[in-house]
């Protein structure tokens, strides 16, 4: 259990680093998918199978497909890779990396201090998740649904366009 946890978290960290350093956008996205898969395994081991599988279905299975879909439509060629190489100079990333390293050391220190009391892992059934979502947090679910509806309406509004009839046979079909 602990070994599986460490393996998948190491994979998650390495693949996330690869996402940042890859110059080709599709390769970066592929590493991001691997990172999501690894995080799903980590979440599963923390006792939340429902969230783990949602991570797979929604993030890895739907959102990332749309990202790759967009990449394919944009047909980014060699120029983007060159541009990315130009942007990813050591002088741009050394500063933030050093600062975040300090934060990481602090985080590790804090975690090592608090590890004396072992956190018990309790498995969460899908039923419990559903009962909490549709019980005390119902209003949040409803609000999220409203937000999504607004998004869909907006997308439908932007996406609509008047059909142009290019052939007399199609006129009837369009009306």
């Amino acid at each position: 259990m602990n070994l599986l946890f460490s393996i998948s978290s190491v994979i998650a960290i390495v693949s996330t680093l690869m996402v940042i350093t890859r110059k080709h956008p599709v390769h970066a996205l592929l590493y991001l998918i691997v990172s999501f898969l690894a995080i799903a395994v980590v979440i599963y081991q923390l006792g939340a199978p429902f969230i783990a599988i949602l991570e797979l279905i929604i993030y890895a299975g739907a959102i990332m497909v749309l990202f790759i879909f967009t990449m394919m439509l944009l047909n980014l060629g060699k120029e983007t890779i060159d541009q990315e190489r130009k942007w990813l100079q050591p002088q741009t990333w050394t500063g933030p990396v050093l600062l975040s390293l300090i934060l990481l050391v602090e985080l590790i220190y804090l975690l090592s201090k608090s590890s004396s009391q072992e956190h018990a892992i309790t498995g969460m059934d899908t039923k419990i998740v559903a009962q909490t979502l549709f019980g005390p947090y119902l209003i949040l679910v409803e609000l999220a649904a409203l937000l999504l509806t607004a998004g869909i309406v907006g997308a439908a509004h932007i996406g609509q366009h008047k059909r142009r009839v290019s052939h007399r046979f199609l006129e009837e079909y369009n009306e």
Binding site: V26, I33, L56, I68, M71, M72
Partner: protein, 319 residues
């Protein structure tokens, strides 16, 4: 120790029988298509032309495995493997018979949905990495088709989940002892089956590879065993959807006593595989926008309505 051995035997046996079945389906499909279209079909090699399977496999293995120089090599190689891996992983949750089950996952149905949504990558990446216009068009169609039909696939299953009160496929089969869910969820059954055809991109929904307009769609550039992987993956996908329909709506291995449970499961699954082939023999391919419009304008409202009615009835019966 004994339990571990049983599991290993189950896994090896399942893998062997699935791959054999997928290869045999090449022959079954061509013979059945011929029968329904009033032709003879492959009938020369061996009894009933059965050795066409061996000949086809040998041919695929010995063809030149050509990776186009203009392709994205690593992605190109990995794409067909993703399809077979995701489909084979989905089979781990299917209860073939009371004892023959690899894992009784408490979120079995969700795992199946996750695997089928990851399967999209094989088409998208395969089409993109080929660096070919036909492949790219096929991949675009495949991605939008599979993402859209996944939605209805997931929603159509929720009626079954409500009725059985579990995501575990074993519990769902057990819940069908009195009556199969096809009687209580006919709408869910039809929509799941349609979505299943679209997910496996089989005819009539094979627009990602529509050969009359796109050469071979997303796998135009694939040859030899890499093409074979897509081929096998498609037949495994058909078997998977048939097995899922059997498990979810037709009572899985349940059936009258005179046949063992595994036989009932195999019979029902095989009937659905034949139905897949019959659809291919009889239906024309819709246009791309017709397919998407049909999905979002017809299937989605019907699925939501089905969900609403099922929920209301379940609540009423509980009270």
């Amino acid at each position: 120790m004994n339990e571990t051995l049983t599991y290993i035997l189950t896994i090896v046996g399942e893998l062997f029988s699935l791959l054999t079945l997928a290869a045999l389906l090449i022959w079954v499909e061509r013979r059945m298509l011929a029968l329904w279209q009033d032709r003879l079909g492959p009938n020369r090699a061996g009894p009933f032309g059965l050795f066409i399977v061996v000949a086809d496999t040998l041919k695929l293995f010995f063809k030149e495995d050509w990776i186009p120089p203009f392709s994205e090599k690593a992605v190109f190689v990995i794409a067909p493997a993703i399809l077979v891996i995701t489909v084979l992983l989905s089979f781990t949750i299917i209860p073939f018979a009371p004892g023959i089950l690899i894992t009784d996952f408490n979120i079995g149905i969700l795992f199946f949905l996750a695997m089928s949504s990851l399967g999209v990558y094989s088409i998208v990446l395969g089409g993109w990495a080929s660096n070919n216009k036909y492949s790219l068009l096929g991949a675009l169609r495949g991605a939008s088709q599979m993402i859209s039909y996944e939605v209805f696939m997931g929603l159509s299953l929720m009626g079954v989940v409500m009725l059985s009160g579990s995501f575990s496929l074993r519990d769902i089969v057990e819940a069908q002892r009195n009556h199969w869910f096809i009687l209580l969820q006919p709408v869910g059954f039809v929509i799941f089956f349609i979505a299943g055809i679209a997910e496996t991109h089989r005819l009539p929904f094979d627009i990602p590879e529509a050969e009359s307009e796109l050469v071979a769609g997303f796998h135009s550039e694939y040859s030899s065993m890499k093409f074979g992987m897509f081929f096998i993956g498609e037949y495994l996908g058909i078997t998977l959807i048939s097995a899922m329909v059997t498990t979810l709506f037709l009572g899985g291995w349940l059936g009258p006593e005179f046949l063992p449970p595994i036989c009932w499961f195999a019979l029902k699954t095989f009937a659905f595989i034949l139905f897949f082939i019959l659809l291919r023999a009889s239906l024309p391919r819709p246009r791309y926008d017709q397919l998407m419009g049909y999905g979002w304008k017809v299937l989605l409202p019907v699925t939501l309505l089905n969900l609403l009615v099922t929920g209301a009835v379940v609540l009423l019966l509980k009270n």
